[in-house]
Symmetry: C2
Subunit: 182 residues, 2 copies
DNA sequence: AACTATACGGAGACAGTCTCCGTTTGGCAA
DNA sequence: TTGCCAAACGGAGACTGTCTCCGTATAGTT
């Protein structure tokens, strides 16, 4: 890749991160281009769709997911507490931008989505938590990781749309936790 | 209201019902006006926002919610089956248009939303089911109806966004049911 | 039939998406 | 160093959807 292309790409990702954080996932892409100091054509050449741009933004996010899972797993406490701690972390992780929870959760299990790799990271992290719980046979049988992600993602979507705070989300996560525990 | 205004209003509601069913909640409002054979101004005078139009469309839907609750409540079976039957019905009811589940669920508990009355109907129907279950002390304590609506609404939103079929939704509802049952 | 409050319609301002194509430039080969 | 050209740029503009404004039409009254 040519040096100017590389530079513009980075500028675009940085601008997008900024604009999406400020205005949510539906922010204007022309605004992103403007803020990056490039033409609209350049943006669409690098990132043919909003989702592809989203995916690029999230490169660094992958590390954060894994760190967060590490952190939760060293925690002590019973199975329910561990699971709830992960659920709350999960909600935080996918709620970076307005519209993010719905976006990510709908891509969960869709192999053609531009952000599959990100979903896989999230699913893998959740799998680590599930493995830990399986060691002590804490979970009901036949529960799949994808299903847990959908359930928690659903709660996060509702919270995102309805501007619910953590206190309102907590009891919902408790119901799900109790539902998946044996 | 003048007779022509009345007529146009009805035409608009009918056209909107049609267009939303075909194209989902994000369909073009100018398209609705066109299909109704009126100007855009007329549409916006009658219905200042998409939500207000949505609310008008749903007038007849209210009856269907109550009928559906009646139907579920005469059903025999244990508490879990009753609850699951209602959850599945609930998902169907709020999934009339693409984007509907998220819309309705985010309005749940927001007193300023133009579709509050519709949410109240839904919550009241759910309350009837909850009352029945409380008779036999089937539910865990401290679970609020709004929370159940949010949980099931979350699943419906995810299913709507990700095009999940009933078979994929069922296990998610089971987890929620097991989580709220004592 | 005349009057007027009410309602209508659609042109057009505005905003966002995305493409097309003339122009510029980075990097390489001579 | 120079010349070349594939690669990349930029932004005008086509297109779509939202919503308003105001000149025009008419329902209902007197």
């Amino acid at each position: 890749m040519r040096a100017d292309a590389q530079r513009n790409r980075e500028r675009l990702v940085e601008a997008a991160r900024e604009v999406f954080r400020e205005q949510g996932y539906d922010a204007s892409l022309d605004e992103v281009a403007k803020r990056a100091g490039v033409g609209a054509g350049t943006l669409y050449r690098h990132f043919p769709s909003r989702d592809v741009l989203m995916d690029a933004i999230m490169q660094s996010w992958v590390d954060r997911v894994n760190d967060a899972a590490d952190k939760v797993l060293v925690h002590e406490g019973d199975s329910r507490e561990l699971l709830l701690a992960w659920f709350e972390t999960y909600v935080d992780l996918i709620s970076m931008h307005k519209g993010g929870p719905a976006k990510i959760t709908s891509a969960m299990g869709d192999a053609t989505s531009p952000i599959v790799t990100k979903c896989q990271v999230l699913a893998a992290a959740t799998q680590r938590v599930v493995d830990r719980l399986d060691e002590v046979h804490a979970l009901r049988e036949h529960i799949e990781v994808v299903q847990m992600c959908r359930l928690v993602g659903g709660v996060a979507s509702v919270a995102d749309n309805g501007n619910l705070d953590q206190a309102a989300v907590r009891p919902l996560l408790e119901v799900i936790a109790d539902g998946v525990l044996a």
